[in-house]
């Protein structure tokens, strides 16, 4: 059974300390809800686990089945069985969704998948997600609505069969039917033994997927690690009780000044 262990993880983004000693363990078969106010490190944790180059691990360990994966590249981590369903998936014009999916499946297989088997898998998965098949043949995420992008993330999850899937606000921007469809997919994949670490601001998704645990990240550290009843409490009362009951002062999110661009043409110089 695959296990992901985060030990004393410290992470910086562009010199700013975001995670300040996160400890967390998730095993295959578990579904963990990751909660916390905006700007306290939820997405940073997921991106750091996946190895995003903008997130610098300054201390601590990320262990997958006991092996520290910090030195592994992003693709190596993916091939081990980690998956990150992104909040804002990149658009890749000109790359067909199905070509990409097939290349991704082949990347972790010893021999290439046959055309027949691939399209059968694709057909079944798109039907399960109630997703139009043509989305699978269009350019990867290009011109997709927010909801279509999220369904496409779930399509990739189904086809790539990770051991532990991390989902970053997979329900944001989804209508009621789409949330239902995404939650059904998560539940089906749970039955296959996959582990999930799910960020969401809404109890509705968690009601539908029944997490086994809930952890709350505050000020870059895990402040609470408990049962699913935490989700309901936070949904009803917010995070204030953490201050009153646990004495943890919740730092306010710092608002960055917007970048300002003055009067230039749309030409950008070469980056060398």
């Amino acid at each position: 059974m695959a296990t992901l262990e985060i030990k004393n993880l410290h992470v910086e983004v562009e010199g700013k300390k975001i995670l300040k000693g996160v400890n967390l363990t998730i095993s295959e078969g578990e579904t963990v809800a990751l909660l916390g106010p905006n700007g306290h490190g939820k997405s940073t944790l997921l991106n750091a686990i996946m190895g995003h180059p903008r997130y610098t691990v300054t201390d601590g360990e990320i262990l997958f089945d006991g092996k520290d994966i910090k030195s592994l590249s992003v693709d190596e981590r993916a091939r081990l069985g980690l998956f990150l369903g992104m909040q804002s998936p990149a658009e890749v014009p000109g790359v067909s969704n199905s070509d990409f999916l097939r290349a991704a499946i082949n990347a972790k297989s010893e021999k290439p998948i046959s055309t027949y088997k691939f399209y059968k898998m694709l057909d079944t998965a798109t039907k399960d997600l109630k997703m139009p098949f043509d989305l699978a043949t269009r350019s990867l995420n290009e011109g997709f609505s927010g909801g279509e992008k999220k369904r496409n993330e779930m399509l990739q999850l189904i086809l790539l069969e990770p051991k532990i899937a991390m989902l970053d606000e997979i329900d944001s921007g989804l209508d009621v039917d789409a949330i239902q469809s995404v939650s059904e997919t998560i539940n089906r994949e749970k039955e296959k033994g996959r582990g999930f670490l799910i960020i969401s601001h809404y109890a509705r998704l968690f009601d539908l997927v029944s997490p086994t645990r809930a952890v709350v990240i505050i000020n870059g550290r895990i402040a609470l690690d408990g049962g699913p009843e935490l989700i309901k409490r936070i949904d009803q009362t917010g995070y204030e009780f953490i201050k009153t009951e646990y004495g943890i002062e919740i730092q306010k999110e710092e608002a960055d000044m917007n970048d300002v661009s003055i009067g230039t043409c749309a030409v950008r110089e070469a980056i060398k």
Binding site: S73, D75, V92, F100, A103, S139, R268, A270, I271, K272
Partner: protein, 273 residues
């Protein structure tokens, strides 16, 4: 696909094609012509698809499209030094659509000018170019709006690698008297490595009111968010870069009618990446 060879109908370096019931598929093979160039005239309402192969360096191609005529050019540049030298003059309601896949080697200094002289005439230009091995390529593509309600689009996509230099320039000029015209220029270049270089310089000149004009250009390395996304699904970084770059160039295939030629271009692009 059977195509009519222009060499069979050219006289004194000129050819005139009249309207027929169906589109005429032609081929211009540069090996069939001397360096004097060629003037192609499409008479009123003629409709021609022209495949251009073995284009000779700086071969002057002078195109005249009379009222209501339509020309689609499918250009394949595969040889050494194939600088384009094309001028097109369009009458009322005439339309020219050009797709060029440039996989040539050696230096290139191409100049293309499309003059929209008649009301409601339109010009669409699309280029995908790969520059490598210290080659220096400059594509200067201009669309000049000389009449009202004219429409011009210039889309240029390129990749430069292995110390190559690629430049996209050109002017989209809406002149006086060209009210209600629309023009757009787009230039994007991926610079694949630190020793390669690129320049994108689209220029708009607007002398008339009540027109729409836009231009955009980007020159840079492969987008790191795209790399992260693809690698997070298990693709190696090198493969991710290749896929993204192919995605940049391959849409040019949609402009070619012949499946064998599409296959050839696709294989060549993949080979270069």
């Amino acid at each position: 696909m059977d195509r009519l060879s222009l060499k069979n109908i050219v006289k004194n370096n000129q050819v005139s094609i009249s309207k027929t019931d169906e589109m005429i598929y032609c081929v211009l093979d540069g090996n069939d012509f001397n360096n004097k160039g060629l003037k192609i005239t499409l008479e009123d309402d003629a409709n021609v698809n022209l495949l251009l192969v073995n284009y000779k360096n700086n071969f002057p191609l002078d195109i005249e499209l009379k009222e209501g005529s339509s020309l689609k050019i499918e250009g394949l540049l595969l040889d050494e030094q194939q600088s384009l030298n094309i001028t097109a003059n369009l009458g009322k309601f005439a339309k020219i659509t050009s797709y060029f896949a440039d996989l040539s080697s050696g230096d290139n200094k191409s100049k293309v000018v499309m003059n929209l002289n008649g009301e409601n005439s339109s010009a669409f230009w699309k280029l995908a170019s790969v520059t490598e091995k210290k080659d220096k390529k400059v594509f200067d593509v201009s669309i000049i709006h000389n009449a009202s309600k004219t429409y011009g689009v210039s889309d240029n996509y390129g990749v430069t690698k292995d110390e190559g230099f690629l430049s996209f320039s050109g002017i989209s000029h809406i002149k006086n008297g060209s009210k209600f015209s629309k023009t757009r220029q787009n230039a994007k270049i991926i610079v694949f490595d630190k020793l390669s270089n690129a320049k994108a310089q689209p220029i708009l000149k607007i002398d008339e009111n009540e027109v729409e004009a836009s231009h955009g250009a980007s020159v840079g390395t492969v987008n790191e968010d795209q790399i992260f996304y693809l690698t997070s699904r298990g693709l190696k970084e090198e493969m991710a870069r290749q896929l993204i770059t192919l995605g940049y160039l391959k849409p040019i295939l949609n402009g070619f009618s012949d499946e064998e030629i599409k296959e050839e271009i696709s294989t060549l692009i993949e080979g270069r990446m």
